[in-house]
């Protein structure tokens, strides 16, 4: 009985018209975020791929989210939680800047 209820709720959630979540790939290469301006929706995931030979981070200017240190050749994932525009930087190399625009 409980299982039926859970499945029903899940079915409603799947057909509620909410936009599907997307994966947004961002390369970190030559000390730049590519793209530097990211368009996303709440619930999307941003996959940061560090193609440089040193560590980087992608960190919100208000510290509300942080990829943590991403080692050379590795990836990190950030889930977009709120709408609005937000600048972000690499805390290890603050001249690296980007902007996240969430619709």
């Amino acid at each position: 009985m409980t299982m039926k209820l859970i499945l029903a709720v899940a079915a409603v959630a799947c057909t509620s018209g909410a936009p599907p979540v997307a994966r947004r790939a961002v390369a970190i290469e030559e000390f730049k975020y590519q793209p530097a301006v990211i368009q996303a929706s709440v619930g999307d995931t941003i996959v940061w791929e560090n193609r440089d030979i040193v560590q980087h981070t992608a960190t919100a200017s208000d510290q509300s989210w942080d990829s943590g240190e991403i080692n050379a050749g590795k990836r990190a994932v950030t889930v977009v939680r709120k709408k609005g525009e937000q600048e972000f930087i690499c805390t290890l190399h603050p001249s690296m800047k980007g902007k996240l625009i969430v619709r």
Partner: protein, 179 residues
């Protein structure tokens, strides 16, 4: 400390032009070999990593302390990549006047830095980093990249440049924030 720029600039000049005796030597006039460039790259990174280690433990300003730590990790990462490349290319770095001078001056500056503390330490370190990165970028642009013969070595030097520029901009920002 202000000698850093002069030393690296002089080194770049020597590499670019050769000494008076070497001026008659076509090989020397052609600039450093790939093996010499490899040694210069390793020395330049090792020096700044070691000085960064000192700042990471002795700087007072937390941002400068963090910058020092980043210099240690970044320049060691570059040297790791450089080591892998020269192993792949079967090039053995050849120590030369520039690489030796870089190491000697690095040791002298490290000793000077260890005699300082507090705000004096922070300023001396970060001023050094600004001048050092400016000089190394100039050497990379004017001497190392133009003289690198192996394409992979040249590509690596080009790929390292953004790191040096980011370090310079970071150091300049920190220096501007010092009272």
């Amino acid at each position: 400390m202000r000698n850093v720029k002069k030393v690296v600039a002089a080194a770049a000049f020597i590499l670019a032009t050769g000494s008076m005796a070497e001026a008659q030597n076509a090989k020397a006039a052609a600039g450093p070999s790939d093996a010499e460039i490899a040694a210069i790259v390793v020395a330049a990174n090792a020096v700044d990593a070691e000085i960064g280690d000192i700042a990471a433990t002795r700087a007072t300003d937390p941002e400068i302390k963090k910058f020092g730590k980043t210099m240690g990790t970044d320049h060691r990462a570059v040297n790791k990549a450089a080591g892998e490349l020269v192993a792949k290319l079967k090039v053995t770095p050849v120590e030369n006047g520039v690489s030796k001078k870089l190491r000697a001056d690095g040791e002298a500056f490290a000793a000077e830095l260890k005699g300082k503390s507090g705000a004096d330490f922070d300023r001396a370190y970060i001023e050094h980093e600004v001048e050092y990165h400016k000089a190394v970028i100039a050497a990379v642009d004017d001497v190392l990249i133009p003289n690198a013969k192996n394409e992979e070595l040249k590509k690596t030097l080009v790929s390292v440049r953004p790191a040096l520029v980011a370090h310079l901009e970071h150091a300049q920002h920190l220096l501007a924030g010092l009272k």
